[in-house]
Symmetry: D2
Amino acid sequence: MSVIPNVLAERYASAAMKSIWSAEGRIVLEREFWIAVMKAQKELGLDIPAEAIEAYEKVKDQVDVDAINARERITRHDVKARIEEFCDLAGCEHIHKGMTSRDLTENVEQLQVWRAMQVIRDKAVAVLVRLSNLSEQWKDVTLAARTHNVAAQTSTMGKRVAMFGEEIVHGFGAWVSQMDRYAVRGLKGAVGTQLDQLSLFGKNAETVAALEEKVCSHLGIPAKWTNVGQVYPRSLDFAVVSGLVELTAGCASFTKTLRLMAGHELATEGFAKGQTGSSAMPHKMNARSCERVNGFHIILKGYLAMIAGITGDQWNEGDVSCSVVRRCVLPDSFFAADGLLETFLTILDQMGVYAAVVDAELRRYLPFLLTTTILMAAVKRGIGRETAHEVIKEHAVAVSNDLRAGTISQNDLLDRLAGDDRLGIGRSELQSIFDENANDTGMASEQVAVFRGMVSEIVGRFPAGAGYVPGAIL
Amino acid sequence: MSVIPNVLAERYASAAMKSIWSAEGRIVLEREFWIAVMKAQKELGLDIPAEAIEAYEKVKDQVDVDAINARERITRHDVKARIEEFCDLAGCEHIHKGMTSRDLTENVEQLQVWRAMQVIRDKAVAVLVRLSNLSEQWKDVTLAARTHNVAAQTSTMGKRVAMFGEEIVHGFGAWVSQMDRYAVRGLKGAVGTQLDQLSLFGKNAETVAALEEKVCSHLGIPAKWTNVGQVYPRSLDFAVVSGLVELTAGCASFTKTLRLMAGHELATEGFAKGQTGSSAMPHKMNARSCERVNGFHIILKGYLAMIAGITGDQWNEGDVSCSVVRRCVLPDSFFAADGLLETFLTILDQMGVYAAVVDAELRRYLPFLLTTTILMAAVKRGIGRETAHEVIKEHAVAVSNDLRAGTISQNDLLDRLAGDDRLGIGRSELQSIFDENANDTGMASEQVAVFRGMVSEIVGRFPAGAGYVPGAIL
Amino acid sequence: MSVIPNVLAERYASAAMKSIWSAEGRIVLEREFWIAVMKAQKELGLDIPAEAIEAYEKVKDQVDVDAINARERITRHDVKARIEEFCDLAGCEHIHKGMTSRDLTENVEQLQVWRAMQVIRDKAVAVLVRLSNLSEQWKDVTLAARTHNVAAQTSTMGKRVAMFGEEIVHGFGAWVSQMDRYAVRGLKGAVGTQLDQLSLFGKNAETVAALEEKVCSHLGIPAKWTNVGQVYPRSLDFAVVSGLVELTAGCASFTKTLRLMAGHELATEGFAKGQTGSSAMPHKMNARSCERVNGFHIILKGYLAMIAGITGDQWNEGDVSCSVVRRCVLPDSFFAADGLLETFLTILDQMGVYAAVVDAELRRYLPFLLTTTILMAAVKRGIGRETAHEVIKEHAVAVSNDLRAGTISQNDLLDRLAGDDRLGIGRSELQSIFDENANDTGMASEQVAVFRGMVSEIVGRFPAGAGYVPGAIL
Amino acid sequence: MSVIPNVLAERYASAAMKSIWSAEGRIVLEREFWIAVMKAQKELGLDIPAEAIEAYEKVKDQVDVDAINARERITRHDVKARIEEFCDLAGCEHIHKGMTSRDLTENVEQLQVWRAMQVIRDKAVAVLVRLSNLSEQWKDVTLAARTHNVAAQTSTMGKRVAMFGEEIVHGFGAWVSQMDRYAVRGLKGAVGTQLDQLSLFGKNAETVAALEEKVCSHLGIPAKWTNVGQVYPRSLDFAVVSGLVELTAGCASFTKTLRLMAGHELATEGFAKGQTGSSAMPHKMNARSCERVNGFHIILKGYLAMIAGITGDQWNEGDVSCSVVRRCVLPDSFFAADGLLETFLTILDQMGVYAAVVDAELRRYLPFLLTTTILMAAVKRGIGRETAHEVIKEHAVAVSNDLRAGTISQNDLLDRLAGDDRLGIGRSELQSIFDENANDTGMASEQVAVFRGMVSEIVGRFPAGAGYVPGAIL
């Protein structure tokens, strides 16, 4: 039986994300970390032969995962297995001095998280750039905006894009702010007091502080914990996964709306690539990538529940009931988020709007959509808001029911309103209101411009992601 | 970069569980399903050459996952890729007649779930057998039972085992009951009306019913849906994962308690195997397998949240926003449950109780633990319950505080109570109460016997699991 | 400041459900429980004056919640406050003998749960009766069934109702099965060994067993735990809330689909009551009750997460970290489920289908919907499935795109297929296929009949709920 | 039957928090908001009589919740009911001009959230101040720090406090950062385009912008959305609840650890207030407030699951499936967090450490705890790390087993190590190591000082909360 693959990684995630979490990648990170510690220890006076460090460096990329796994089955301790393998390869025993397992694993796992956070940040920028472009492209496509899934008022497709886009901008702000505060555990020893490094360095606190400084600068993570136990607080992991849920919420709302639009033939997720039908039912153009994005978001929320389960549950200086949970959640939530963003980028690159269908729908509903404006007009001329509402509602409901019953085929709401004395607005006046307002989408264009400004500002700060092109998706 | 493995499968799950969910295993199940459908269709009159069926049968075990994946990257449709591969291998095109993708995938995935449910059921029986034995083995080990994590009254270690055991018995009842009601979707066509099979068979409803009967009997699942859409209701998946959480809850409570006991040196998870210390701190005997069981239970709750996310969310006759979620949850929740049970079985085989420590702790607390009995005695002789409670509490708290302050080293509660006229019970009488009740664990033994009877009954119905021995764990 | 009400109870739940969980109701249940215990204790030989029991009985309905709360603020112990109040009212001290707080609260809370389960069960029957009727009423309303939110094949509205109905039937089976297994804790004492009752009754195990039997028969719950600690296992609470999620999942899928249908004007949740528009936008007929049902289902899943948080987390014989969680989850999850069912029943009583719109939509899509049938026809005459699919897809996509672009206004797929030699099916033959199949909804009618049979069987077993009429909803 | 109270509000939350979410409080906020809008509209040229505004102002505090509820039962629309009540009270109809329901409710609910966030922020400061003081108070109390719930190395009680404290500092940083980014929806109209206000003001975009500016400044929330639909994105609510989980995680870990410590009699949550025993078992000093904090944290995670359920689920410009969820989650998650903090503050004010017990425990484990230091010593003198570990482990395990079996009563590890040639460290040297290191808690003191500095900085920025004293808790 072949290895059971991680389905999120192998079906959906990008190579960049996979390499961060691969067994080989992690082992190399660990070895580099050990070497960085050794070098720092040597610089600060510990007697470690230069040849030993060289020996380790020479073999650090010789990663044999099977051999390490075989060792672990004997030692029943994963870090010990990896120490033995590395030492045997190098032919000496100088790594891991004054360190406990967690001095290694916590820092290396945080490095993986940190690098994965950067990947996600840059892809979010790529998403925003596309949304900005699409909001501009469709800023004049007037549509019947919906609330309660029912046509409500006019807006534009560009504004709709910007609406979901601004949600992502907000989540992006939270993400970046979190990265600024992301803190690494450092070399704190078994219970967080740095006792073992102090022992190694003759109880010299300054040396130990300098050691940690060097090691953290190797990691490149901006902030650092001072008071920890064996582990850093798991609420930090929680915050990361929560941030993924928040950052991608706007994507999920966008794709849910696109699924609804596809159901009305207003839009398609696959216009650009030459939409093809489904296997069993050739005519069908399914929003399956959009459905997948929604699926990924549900997955992320599940991982959030998992990581929440180990949050606020630290016993004393820490234990490892969190271990198997983090083995699962940390990579998999990033794979899911990465797969979500890859899929979403592809949708944004290939989606299209059926302008003719959008317009036909709008025409059908326009007299209804303008009732609020007519209501305003009535209110302005002194009719009580509630009274005006009553009259308009009566006719609107009647027209709607007649249309649905098939007894009329044209929306004749304006005629009916003109004929009702309680409202007291003539037919020609109603027509004027209609003509003036049919394409009135309020501040939609100005709002789109504001959104585009926000994105420009972000691209200015994080230009790396702007040009990112997603890989091919299944 | 090598394949990223599914960590739950590769680190923790048993071979039996992995084979159910492996790519190869699934593909063979699918091909067998297609062949079963073809055979049934032929029997019921469809013109399918016997040689074609033979050709498919001959190649059904030739599974080349990479080749299929390569096809999927072209078709962007996983089922289509697998149809093409199988047909090319067999050299003909006769499978999948009148079927949609979901006619294949729903049924095969349910078959995977069904088989995995059987594995879990049998391992739960193995757990119960061990708990029954341990409850007997320790039925006379009197201990200081705790509530609020504070010693409360005497009980026995056997009763404690039976207590968690009976929780598992209850969860087992729910699991078995659910298996009895587990229903398969069957061959229902694109939207559930069986239209395409009807088309194939000249609109003959009886033939189509007979076809479905034959196919379902191939699957061996007890119940069957009648009214479904493209998919069976996802609340069925939800119920399965929820059942896993419920079934394993008693295991998680047991291991949490064992972690607490290990902290007091009352018990260890690794007595039988020769407990060894941790890597960094040699003296430490960590309840790491227990911690892992708790971790697995948190993971299961996370998968429950995921699957809940697609429950009650069916659009019309179904869509595939659930697809990626189920790809993740269905195997992984079973891997987690399987790993939990493998780990828990190992703990049960290797754990031990330190009788001397248990007894020492009991001695320390006994005068306190008997306060309820003394209270009863006072009440029986007519002192108001609240008054007696007040007096006893006053002295008990004082003794406890003195012990904690180190001002006394022996629990002298009986002396103090004897000296208090409000209670009116003499010292010798108190001593009699003490002597009579020190080892009184109430109905603990009888309760253990009842538990053992429950387990016997279960083993009688499901003997297969009773002798199961877990594999080696990491 | 007035009391902050429980919003789920006060806005949405029925009087029956509220009375179960009200402070007054609970206190009366407790007092009745204490009296039942006293009577049983007296019958079994304990010296309790008949007048005392009478005194308690006389005042048991004199519930002054404020007075009890005031006592609790002094004692900082809720049960003690309620003991004192009841004893002061009765003028004696005879209740709660040999009992701990949990002997009272666990059993009474289980009684509340049990009664609430009955309410839910009966409302579920009421739901099924309505669904059965609606499935019959609409069994000939042919519609364009959708998958991926895109028209896929013909079905009927009756079948769609039955599809969601059968999901509820399945959840109902789980619910009833769970009720059969629901077990009460009984009078087990501080750590579950029944020590204190044994003390009261001279260590006579049979008397104590008889006592528990009498008390449990007062409660009327079918099953009973033997091995428990201070508390019954919280996985039992988990199973109850999980059962609520499962039972109502079909309701949530139904209302989600109705929201989609309302968006296409195919149906409305408010036909029967005279649909009225929204306040701000008079023409709008919003599926707000359906939205509310979906909201309730999300709430239930949240309570499931809460209760899962205390599942598998028992420390030793139990503690009270679960206390505040259960105070919140137990009533509130039942209020939410009750509100969901009340709302859903109202929808079922008032909803309507716009047959003319349903038919118009069907006409638009029919040529597409029949492509699977045409594909079958092609396969039957020997054309390879994949080839036929390719040809049909090509034309179907082209027609669809032309319709969306507005370049054609009629679906001319049959003409285009007739003109393609690769398929080799003539126009008249295609028209025959069309005419024969336009109203072919496969086994839809037979399936509806099967569903109605299931409901009849349930009504036969649980007739009480069948006639239930929901209260007015907001 | 009296009103069913919100148990979180009425049992646990503070008056300040309750007043924010009370029905009366909310209605006044709404009315003030309407008045603010009217005033701004008048200033910007709308014809609203000054007397009308005065009339509204005069009656704004006349809140009759029952009357409003009665209206809602007729209108089936909560906002409409409140409009009618306010207008009837004032005797005119000038509020709500150009507004939809959501223009009112979204903004007012955000104002409630915003004020509740401030309350929580200030209580978190109060928590940090106490933790800072306790970390100082106990900075010299050496204890046996635990990992895997087993004694591992020495640390101090002060450091342990600081460890949980720094987790809260980190969560506090996230909370404050989120407050800085918290954005209000503003007056955006039915679908977010501000169409209706534009209609009112002759399509003058600048006037409408000025109007929104005035209204937002009334609210006092720092940031503002530009592109929204009918509702602001629900991921904002998600972020708030997630922030509550993160902020309180350190509290929950602290109380979980205190429950463990209480089980070992190392500490108590109730020292200051004169710890009293439990009702049924007088000697027991239960960490029930700590258990409650853990319960609250589980509740918060459940509300997080609820709010996650409406995140990434926006249909088009918004619907109200989120309505009932938010009615429940927004107040209740703040009540739970408030109750958690009130309880936690009380614990911090009343808890105590039993120094004699802490010391006795330390003495028992010290020889074990120093094995890492001995290991270091061995490594420094050239013995391979793995070899030294093997030897030490062998003896440590043996001593531990002998102690647990009761065959020795004193920890004689140093003697045994001295007698083993493989290690080659003499008895006196081992004693020196022991004496030197017995009280060596590494950098614990320095770390505590750093923590205290962090808290000082926070108090400097947010002095309001520093002096907060919690109310009495149940």
